[in-house]
Every structure is written in structure tokens, then in C-alpha cells.
Symmetry: D2
Subunit: 343 residues, 4 copies
């Protein structure tokens, strides 16, 4: 049974795996202060065209977000959209650090500057939490991406209101390589206070690279990594992987394959008049599938059922990755032809 | 420069690395519910001769300890020795979950039943925290090991007093294979409520296996793994590694090599009349080295300076691992001969 | 300038003040285990017709709610309506204990059983928090009250779903004495797992009485009171006050005066065709006032502006208490006549 | 049975009670921003000769200490002596905010500058918490007091090491009025970053006055009071009490009575050759009493048994307050004569 359920069904992409093998027996310092991490940090700084940042390697996305929250003072809160990963899918990890998340509707998974303003205006006194950080994802949980104008407006709003803007880049590669994207790595760094570049979902076994630009957020950062369970004794294995991904164009190439395969699936669905719930240009797509057809698909493919659309249709999620092959997509097309004809 | 600084200077041991390579492209479910993790859990259950346990794979030792703490109620506290890892070297991660650590002196890194009794007796009312969990390590931070009689006494004391006994097994293999050890994997499980088997320091790239025997601690355990940043999207990579370590005798063989090499170093030091600060039978040894000799050693070897012994001597820590080769130890012997003769 | 801004503008009601004076020089034990607290607890047990409960005296409403949250396990969450006091007006105190609040729309400030079901259904796995407690207020933040049928349905839903039902009774007296109420003190206890009887807003200087009926929530309760800053050295002063309020009918009489005065204000507004934003039968009313009239009122009266209704009208909050006198209401009527005629 | 068990056995001192009565029916704003609190703050500023401070009124000592802890960043820790109130008698309330307490031995209940230095030196990297605040009490838990030279040395050490110095003044009056004291209110403010003036144990029903001098600790302070359950709706009742205590010399006079009575008890014990465990000049004394005599005392007096001294003697704690009368002490003397003669 083939899985389109997510972009972390396989291990590492071939180049990253090779790097892990080749460096395996070299001795290095522990806890992420080794030469691999240092070199990887430098390569990332070059990629994002920012020398003025700190780069830290973290075990996963949830710890990145938890560390971001732990930078706040006791009474400060985070604003994000209702569908935000921290608001739904991290088992209250942010609240477990003591901080409230204030959720807003958003549009297509993206937050709007006026929503931020409204929250700040409504939190006027010491009987309420004090909003201090805005959390966004790019690509979003819905597969959509921020345009440069949108991100600029959000960032300017944050600066005007004294808020930090933090970007969860679990699928940042998929966003930056997407059709319609006009943001660069440098833009992401220019237009946020802190963000992370996702490795886990784009070719690494595990690991994310946190980039801290705002000077206020830099001090004692490694204390927080350690305290929040996100520092590996063999921290070098994340450095090795990011070095491998960023020393050439592998990171974006991985993301490109994922996007292209997902868009190919979208095209296939379109041929069968199966509509999308939301138009995503990245590696996640959300077809609305008739239930009897869905049963047939599920007999041979792992996918995610996002929720009911109506009585006879279900919103589904199909995800591709660096590991998705043309032949996998072709096989799915062939199977779909069979399913539909049998219907 | 060769490093005896710790047991996590290299990547994975050869067999584990091979397993990661061989399984890399196989699709699996995310978040540690895959077939590799399930099989690894079963193999561990067989090794410890306990079918009645839950086995969970966790990213590292600090998250294991944090999850243990998070099982407590708001007012409950943990007892451990002053040198306990959670008390010193985890950046307050346990307290960050809201729980106090009550430290006692211990002896040779080990806690004494009478210390536990004394703490419980002293915490008599609701103006003080309520001790509920005892934390021990085997091997301890000082490289020492618990004898079966000692562990039995501690466990019985805990049961009498209504306390959980939790054992940090970051170096459990080194303890169980040590000369003088009379505990088995089964004993460890019989004589604790929960413990973890350390992978990171014994041949894995990362990862530990938490074993939960006490029924009270089992429900909703995976919620805590997720909340405390210790669940990987590609959770399979820890399962794969533990399967590789436990499907045959690799785990204990790795530990044996580490111990044998460390004991060989001890023998070398003895030849030069260099005493040990504490007598450890495991893979960490603590020679007391004269400072001018130490300078010469440090010019070619990375080691840890544990602290000053007196004005002219320093307590040092040398650690060996699965990766330490006879030739590394022989080289050190040869160099030591040279250093001492030059002295 | 007279204040209708809230129900805590004055100190204690006369009977309570007298009790404090009369007992002032009597020595008693500290921290709420004194004879006044014990007697008050017994009187409350009699009032609510429940011998099987624990009664604790707490400094205020926020600490009551924080203690309720601290009874949960690390990954468990609270469900409440968007306007819930814990969700808006307690500076994230619940989240500061590490627990997420899941908010639902509600209707007229009241939660609906189907909303509870929907939240529980949506929180299906360990990547999300686990809902475990439902928080309601009676009277609600909007001045409305629960009918017995409503509360019964909510309680049954909670029991079916394995949730605790906790009721914030900051204005419980105002609810129970309101026109249209069909709940008794005994019903409140029968139909919740834990609730508190508000003292601060109904004649006490400070203090609330927490009533714990569910056996699971009883153990070690005083540890939580202490840890969460809600235990007074001179705990007796809360016991003395509750004894004074409950040894006869003072508690409900205080509430009745507050309600009657607020309803008189409502009648006055009606005479001037000033509508209510929401129909509240308790001591808070929400008239929608034209802005130029509002300016005149504000020149002589402190009231709360709840928010804009439209461009020319504002939703206001008027609150009465045990201390509001008929003459205060009459004065307001006279002033209103003047303002309106001048208009 | 007369109680020497503590200094909070009675209600408010007469002057404070009168103030509460006289202001009871005056309407005021809620939550501690009323005119009584403002005036009380001004009177305190005058007393301590500091205009540059913020003064906040808090419900009790534990909340004061919890708020102090909540000012720290996630990885920062507090240093205090083993007997420190936060370390022993607050049910882990500080750790419940996420912060570790590092305890040192101290001498006579007082911390030593060299202990602070040693802790800071030992906490050298991100694997350990970062010490950031020193917590002291004056008078200490053992009834002892800090000399000006001692406090100056501690403060200078803190400033040199980048630490905040916070002083718990639950019994500050007793310290400042003690024989041998050479510190003034102004000195306390000069030589700390933040401290609180205890009301509960010196004539108030409840309440403490937090004085914040360090600019870094001032912003958003009221958010923390609210979040940590220490803000009363009728906050005015603490302001009224502190105004009453500080508008004249009542605060120190209350403390003086307490000290004088305790010292009279000490003199009585000396007459019977009953030694003190520690020499305290304040309102707590610690006689070492032979056990058969102790039984006779306990039949008529409530006192605290601090712990066993040897097989036949017990360390006891006797405490006096503003409420202790000469006749109470005289009665005790008479009873003691009887007990000893009967012996």
C-alpha cells in the first residue's frame, strides 16, 4: 500500500544519508557545537544572505515552537490562526510553557494584519494577557503561501505594535519553490524576527534550523534548547544533514520534487472533475472526493481524511515529498482510472 | 586530537547505521507507531522478560526525565542525589514542568533508602511539596553501579512509602555488563516503576527506550511524549535503531567494549601510580592527575576536567564507548609513557 | 460620583463586618484550619444539603479557577465559552498552570452540550490536548442564568464523556435568587463535580468557598491552595465571613437586593425606551445607550462601557450589589429624567 | 489555651481594624488602583525615602515570592539558603512557575556572599540553569537579622555578578526594630532590587506591600499580580490597612511590642537555665526544652516543636506579636514556675 499520507514516510534523502554515513566515524564535540553544525550555520547564513543571525539546530518543529514561546515573559501571549499547528496539533505544548495562544480566523490559513490589530486593541489592560508574538507558517497548514506584500504588511504591523513575528517553516522549501511565490530566503529573514527552516519534511531524518535575527531573542538561546528537550548529545547529526541540504541546491530541489508531484496529482484529479477544497500550490493538496470512490482509493493508498465535506463527499489530504516518484503518481492515475470506470 | 571526553563523539555503531540505510526508503507511519517501533518494542519486552510493559521511543535522556516529571500532580516532587543529572545538568528542565527536586547527599552517586525515608518524614504537611518519585541512574553519574540488594531495598522503600521509582538508564548497558554487576534487564524492570534504556550513549545516533511497568503511569503516555517535544515525525528511525541493537546481543556488546576499554585505561593509570577519585567499573573513570602531566595529555587528548582535587592535582573524566578501539588505548599508553618520562 | 461599575466597590456588608470585629481578638489556628472555617464549612454543607463534600476557603475567584486547572494532568484541557472569565479576564492564569483552554461560542454566555460533544469528538488523538474539564459560570459573564434542565443536560453530557464539570459561582447568589431560576444550592452541588460560592461580590471583603464533591478531586486539595497563592495565614477571616453569610439567609438576601436594584434600573431604562443588549435577570444589566446621553450619565456615574453597539450607541454595563440603596436608584432615575429632557 | 505558636493568631490590630470599619462604605475602584492604595503607596515611599519605586499591594507572602520568581526568564534560577521559606514552606510554588531554586547552607539563616559566588561559578554553561536572583529574608526564618555591612556585601556581590537581590520582609518590622539592628527602611530599599514589607504578621488582616526599585522589574508588574492570583477585587482593603500602619509609627510599634514580649520570654527561660538554640533578637525565639517540662507547657500553651535537640530535649519556637500582652507573658512565667517546681 503506497502512502500519500504525509511527507515523512521515508528516511533521509540519498544525499543526506550519504553525508551521515561518510561523517559517522569522525569524532566531534557534543550538543551541537561541533564543526558540522558550525559549517552548516555558515552555509545557511550565506543562503539567506544574513551574517547577523544566530542559527541553531533543533530536533523538531514542536520544540522550535515551544522554544519560541519560552522566550516570552510570563504574561505574554501568542497570536495565530485557528488552524495554526501550535493551536491544534502540538498537544498544548505552548500552553505547557505557561503562555496563552489567542486564535483568529485567518483566511486560507493565513493571518491578516487587521486581525492582529484587533487582538492587540482588545487586550487593553492587566486583566488580560499581553499579546507579544505572532506565529505564522509558510507554507501554511492548508498548503497556501504568503505573498511578499502580505508578509511585509504583517511584519510592519508587528513592528508598529511591538510584536515579534515568528515563522514556522516546517515546509518553507515547498513555499519558496512554489509557483506564484515571490519571497526569497533573504526576504523571510528580513521580514521576521525569527524563523525556522524545516528539515524533517524535506529530506532530513530529523532536525530543523532556527534562525534568530532579532537581537532581543538571541541571548542564552542554547539554555532554552536544552531546557526544552531539543538538544541532542550527537547534535552533529543535524548539522551534517543541513550542511548536505544547503551546501548546494538540494534543499530546494527536494521541495520542488514534492511540489511538482503534488501538482501532478492535482491535475489528475482535475481530469476526473474532482475539485480541490482549497487551492494549494505546494506539496499538500486537498481534493474533495466522493465517498464510494474514496473507499476504493483507501483500499490501496494511505491518505488523510481531513473531514467531511457533505453527506457524500470527504475533504482529503494528499502529500508528496522528495521521495515521491513520477511512477508513484502514474500508478495512482492508472488506479484512479480503474476505480472511476468501475464506479 | 583524540577524544576520551564522552561516549557520544561518533555517530551510530556500524550495525545500527546499516539498519538505518537498509530501511531508509521503506515507507512507514509517522510519530513512532510504525512497524519498526512495534517490532523493537516486542524485542525489548522479550529481552527484559516482561510482556506487561509499554515501551516508547523518545528522542533523548532529558525528554525521558521531563516526561517522568510530567506524570506527577502539581504539588508532587522528585527525590534524587545531589549529583543527579536532572538536578544539575538539564537546565532546570524538570522544574520547568513545575515540579521541585529534593536533593540528598547519596554515597558514590547512589541514593540510600534512609535518605528517602528522611525526606518523606520531613515533608509532613501541605506547606511543603509531597515527595512522589525517586530518581536514580544506573550506571550513576560517577560511573558506579547499583547492586541487586541495594536496588531491592530502594524499591521496597519506595513501595512502602507510596513513591514511584524511576531509573535513568542512559548508561544502563554499561552497568549491566560491568564487573561486579548482579542485576539483569529483568531485575531492572522488576525493581522499578519505569526506566529507560539509553541508546544515544551506546551505539544509536539518538534515542532512548522508555519502559513503563506501573499501570498508573501508562495511560495517555504518548500525549506527554508529544507535549514535551520528544516525538519525531520520522519516529521510525529510533525504532529501527533499537531493533538493530536488541535483535541480537549488540547492545551489551557495545557496552562491553566501552567498559573494557575504560578499565584498560584504569589499568594504565595504575601502572603510573595515578589513583582514581572513585572506583568505577563502567565506561567512565575518574583519574586524579598531576597538573603538569595533565597539560601534556590535554595537548593531544580531549578529556573532561571534573574539578580540582588539590592545588596540584585535578580530577579528570575519561570515557570510552562502543567506538573506542584497542589501538586508541594503546596509543594513549604510549603517549603517557612519553609524557611521564619527559616530566 | 456614584458607581454602578461593579459589585465590589464597597467593603463588607454590615453583618459580615460585625462578625470580623467581634472575632478579631480571638486566637485561632492559621491557614484555614481554624474553628471558624470548620463551622462555616459545616453551615455550607447544611445549606447545600451535602455532607459528602469538602469545603475550602480561597482568597478569590481567579485562584479558585487556577486550582481547578491545576487538578488536571499535564495534557488535559478545559472547555469554556469565549466570554468565559478564565478565557479573557484572568491574564492567562489557567494557561500559566500549563493547561490549554478550548473556547466555544456558547449562547447568551452559556455553553451548549452539543458544543462540548463537538470539542471532544474533534480531539481524537495524542497530537491534540485531551479535554477533561468543562468550565461554566452561573450567573454568566452576561448576567444570564442556567435553568435546571440546561445544567442537567450539561452535567449528563460531561459524565457521559468522562469530563469534570466545574462551576464558577462568583455571582452564584445572584443566579439562585433571580426571577426565573429553578436551581437550588443542592442542585448546583448535585449537578457539578466542583463549584465555588462567591463571597467577594456578595458581601464579603474577600473570599470564596470551594465545594468539592467528586472524590477524585478531593485528595491533597490543600497543597494546591497553598501552591497557588490562595491560602491566608489568617485564613480565619474568610471562615468568619462565610459563617456570617450562611448562618442565616444573609447570603441570598444580599444577592436579592443586588438583583432587585438592577431590575429596577432595567425598568427605568425601559421607561425611556432604552433597550437591553441581553436580557439578564441578575445584578448586571446591559443597556444600549445613545452616546450623547451616555456622556451626561458618565459625568455623574461610574459605569462600564462594554463596547460599541453601533455608531451612535454603546453597550453599557450597570451592576448593583448588596450595597445599592433604593435612593441610589431613585437618584439615578431623577438624573436620567433631567438628562433626557435636556437632550 | 494560649497560643505562642505564631504571629498570626489574631485578626487586625485595633488601629487597622478601625480604619477598615471607617472606610467600609466608601465606594472605590477595584483591583488596587483606588485612592487608598495610592495614598498608602505614597506614605510608604515617604517612609522608605524613595520616590523612584513602584509600590504594589499583594495578598500574601507566597504570592509576593511567586511574582518575584515569575519575573525571571525560563532558564533563570533563584539562590537561597536551605531554610529559605520558598525552599521549604511554599509547596513548591516557585518551582510551579518553572524556576529552579538553588539552595546553599547559609549561617544562622543568612546567606553568605561567598556562597553566591560559588553557585554562580559552578553554573557555567547552558546545561545548567542560570542563577539570576538571590532571595533573602529579614528577619530570617531563624529570627536572626542582617547587619548593614552584611546586606551591603551581599548586594554588591549581586550587582557584580548581574543578579537581582530580592528581600522577603514578612517580618521586616521585627528586624528593623530589633536590638542590634543598624538598617533603616531606606537602607533596605537602597540595598535590594525589590522587597516586600510584611503586613500579615505585623497587624494587618492580610496583605503585603511590594516595593520595586530596579527599573528592569517594573514593567507590566500588575499583569503578574493578576496572573498569580494575588489581586483582590476589593484591593482597597490592603491599601486601607497599610495606610493605617504607615501614616504614623504603628507598623514599628506593633513590631516593637512583638520583639519586647519575645525577649521577655527569652529572659524568663534564662532564669530557668533553659538555653536558646539560636540567639534571635526578634519576635521568634527557639528555647531548647527538656521533654517532660515541654509536656506540661503544651498542656496549656500552643507552641511549635521545631525538632528534636537530643533524646531528652526539643527545640521549640515561641512567637509573639502586636497582640501579645504583658499579662500573657507574666502568666506564662507563673505557669513555668509551677511546672518546674512540680518537676
Amino acid at each position: 500500500m503506497y502512502s500519500f499520507a504525509n511527507d515523512y514516510s521515508e528516511g533521509a534523502c540519498p544525499k543526506v544519508l550519504t553525508a551521515l554515513i561518510q561523517t559517522n566515524n569522525i569524532q566531534s564535540d557534543g550538543y551541537g557545537v561541533d564543526v558540522f553544525c558550525q559549517t552548516a550555520a555558515n552555509v545557511i547564513k550565506k543562503t539567506i544572505q544574513h551574517d547577523d543571525v544566530d542559527v541553531h539546530f533543533i530536533t523538531g518543529g514542536t520544540p522550535c515552537n515551544v522554544i519560541a514561546a519560552s522566550l516570552l515573559k510570563a504574561h505574554e501571549a501568542i497570536i495565530c490562526v485557528e488552524t495554526g499547528h501550535i493551536n491544534v496539533h502540538e498537544t498544548g505544548a505552548v500552553e505547557a510553557t505557561g503562555h496563552k495562544i489567542i486564535s483568529v480566523k485567518g483566511r486560507y490559513g493565513k493571518i491578516l494584519p487587521e486581525e492582529i490589530r484587533k487582538v492587540v486593541a482588545a487586550h487593553a489592560d492587566e486583566h488580560m494577557v499581553k499579546p507579544k508574538m505572532v506565529f505564522i507558517s509558510n507554507a501554511t497548514e492548508m498548503g497556501t503561501i504568503y505573498r511578499k506584500e502580505e508578509l511585509t504588511n504583517i511584519y510592519n504591523t508587528c513592528k508598529e505594535l511591538g510584536l515579534y513575528l515568528y515563522l514556522d517553516g516546517a515546509r518553507l522549501g515547498n513555499a519558496l519553490i512554489a509557483t506564484g511565490n515571490d519571497l526569497s530566503f533573504k526576504d523571510i529573514c528580513d521580514l521576521t524576527d525569527m524563523f525556522y527552516i524545516g528539515g524533517t519534511k524535506n529530506g532530513a531524518m530529523l532536525g530543523e534550523a532556527m534562525v534568530v535575527r532579532n537581537e532581543e531573542l538571541k541571548p542564552d538561546f542554547r539554555y532554552l534548547i536544552k531546557q526544552h528537550c531539543a538538544m541532542l548529545a550527537k547534535g552533529r547529526i543535524i548539522g551534517v544533514q543541513f550542511l548536505s541540504l544547503f551546501e548546494d541546491n538540494t534543499y530546494l530541489e527536494n521541495a520542488k520534487n514534492a511540489n511538482v508531484m503534488a501538482q501532478a496529482l492535482k491535475y489528475i484529479f482535475a481530469q476526473f472533475m474532482i475539485p480541490m477544497y482549497i487551492d494549494s500550490p505546494t506539496n499538500q493538496i486537498f481534493p474533495v472526493i466522493e465517498n464510494s470512490l474514496l473507499e476504493k482509493i483507501k483500499a490501496n493508498y494511505k491518505i488523510i481524511e481531513w473531514g467531511p465535506y457533505d453527506e457524500s463527499h470527504t475533504i482529503c489530504r494528499f502529500v508528496c515529498s522528495w521521495a515521491t516518484k513520477k511512477s508513484d503518481v502514474q500508478d495512482f492515475y492508472n488506479d484512479l482510472v480503474t476505480y472511476v470506470n468501475k464506479k
